[in-house]
Symmetry: C2
Subunit: 258 residues, 2 copies
């Protein structure tokens, strides 16, 4: 990452099927790539939508099996959400950051500050049924690393893997893709101490590299109703040391907004 | 934007020169494109780095001409920044959102919540001189619209223009590219009321489209020390109604974190 690439390609894999628990996502990706007459190359990054990974890992929850506690019932009334869904959200969270009618922002057990702990009800089962919900993978960095190792082994190319999700932001309208899992590439690129073109030392240039890749992939991934959940990114220059998406979570002690 | 593109290309224009006040950025972009044997096509989006636009618009400020007031002096001491720089930052801001040693986060006069009101001292003049600083363009949406109109006229192709900058985020480490100016494409894409693959109505899917494009462009733009400040994005599908980057600023009344 001493210099940026001059040209990047983002390519959404075609014909990715609806996956069920136990699906082999490395196989899904390689099959879709083959169908497009593409092979993985060293330096390629594959971005997987969180929902695809959660489904393959069997994270789907039948809300009818949940017994909402009194806190979930109270919050559910306050925000206007199904108390069973709130129970699931709370079980995935360290604490509630903000709540308001229609809004429940929590600190996820992995540190992500996000709406509903990432628990999703759209596109989670075939059929329009509010009884099911899909949390994040248990360990998205671990999932990314397993996918990276498996893809690298089967394709014979050193690739990186990102798992992305859409997060809202304070102060700005709309969601953007962010990285919740990362393997084989740096999640954060630290440019502090480098010099700019004029010779001046750069003071604070730590870049959320995997988040920028996650956002870029979202552009071709689309949202739930299109279904292009795996994106190939080609053209990144060889990177410095790889790091996990957990490094993108700002430690609470350094956070002015917690 | 009913469906996402399957393939996007991001291409950093080569040989963009150091620009001075009064530079014709449409000309700069078209010359660089011609050098790469490329022509603009309908639907292309050009992303310009904020710093390039601010320089061309003559926004450079000689801090030696500024007389810091008592508030700028007090804040300067508290955060450890040059009080003349703080004076400039305050003059670009509605209010201070957070201050701490080394950190001054404000609400910019255009509503952006950002560090230092976007005022930059890196790569602003040729030579390592802390006496100069560069604020955002006066009206980045207007700048984008003028560039869009000029590029469309000269190239004979309907293009979009984004002006991007790097913003830090609460809760997450590292900066990402965001759109501070947008013309000829939708800054925000509202998918509410659409149906997902299962027939379930999507509840809250407003996408920060121009921010995702701005982040993607940052990947090939690099930071200050590389100098690839204009990026061509090709492959977006025809979009719904265009909107300005101002629509990405969340109204204070709807913001739970202000």
């Amino acid at each position: 990452m001493t210099r940026p690439a001059q040209r990047l390609e983002l390519f959404a894999l075609a014909g990715v099927p609806w996956v069920e628990a136990g699906a082999d996502l490395a196989e899904v990706a390689l099959t879709s790539l083959a169908r497009s007459a593409r092979r993985l190359e060293d330096g390629d990054v594959l971005v997987f939508a969180q929902k695809l990974v959660s489904k393959a890992e069997g994270r789907l929850v039948d809300l009818r099996r949940l017994e909402p506690g009194s806190r979930a019932q109270r919050i559910g009334r306050a925000v206007g959400k199904d108390p069973r869904l709130v129970e699931l959200i709370l079980s995935e969270s360290r604490r509630v950051v903000r709540q308001a009618p229609g809004v429940l922002i929590v600190e996820h057990r992995l540190g992500f500050v996000m709406a509903n702990a990432g628990v999703d009800q759209s596109n989670v089962i075939n059929g329009n049924d509010d009884s099911f919900a899909l949390p994040l993978p248990v360990d998205p960095d671990g999932s990314a690393e397993r996918l990276r190792a498996e893809l690298t082994r089967r394709a014979g190319a050193r690739v990186g893997v990102i798992i992305n999700d859409s997060f809202g932001r304070p102060w700005r309208v709309g969601t953007v893709g962010v990285a919740i899992g990362c393997a084989g590439l740096p999640a954060v690129v630290d440019r502090r101490g480098h010099h700019d073109l004029t010779g001046r030392t750069l003071k604070a240039t730590v870049v959320g590299h995997a988040d920028e890749l996650a956002a870029a992939a979202s552009l071709v991934m689309g949202q739930a109703d299109e279904g292009q959940p795996i994106v190939l990114v080609r053209g990144l220059l060889p990177a410095e040391r790889a790091s996990a998406a957990s490094t993108l979570v700002r430690p609470a002690a350094e956070d002015l907004f917690r």
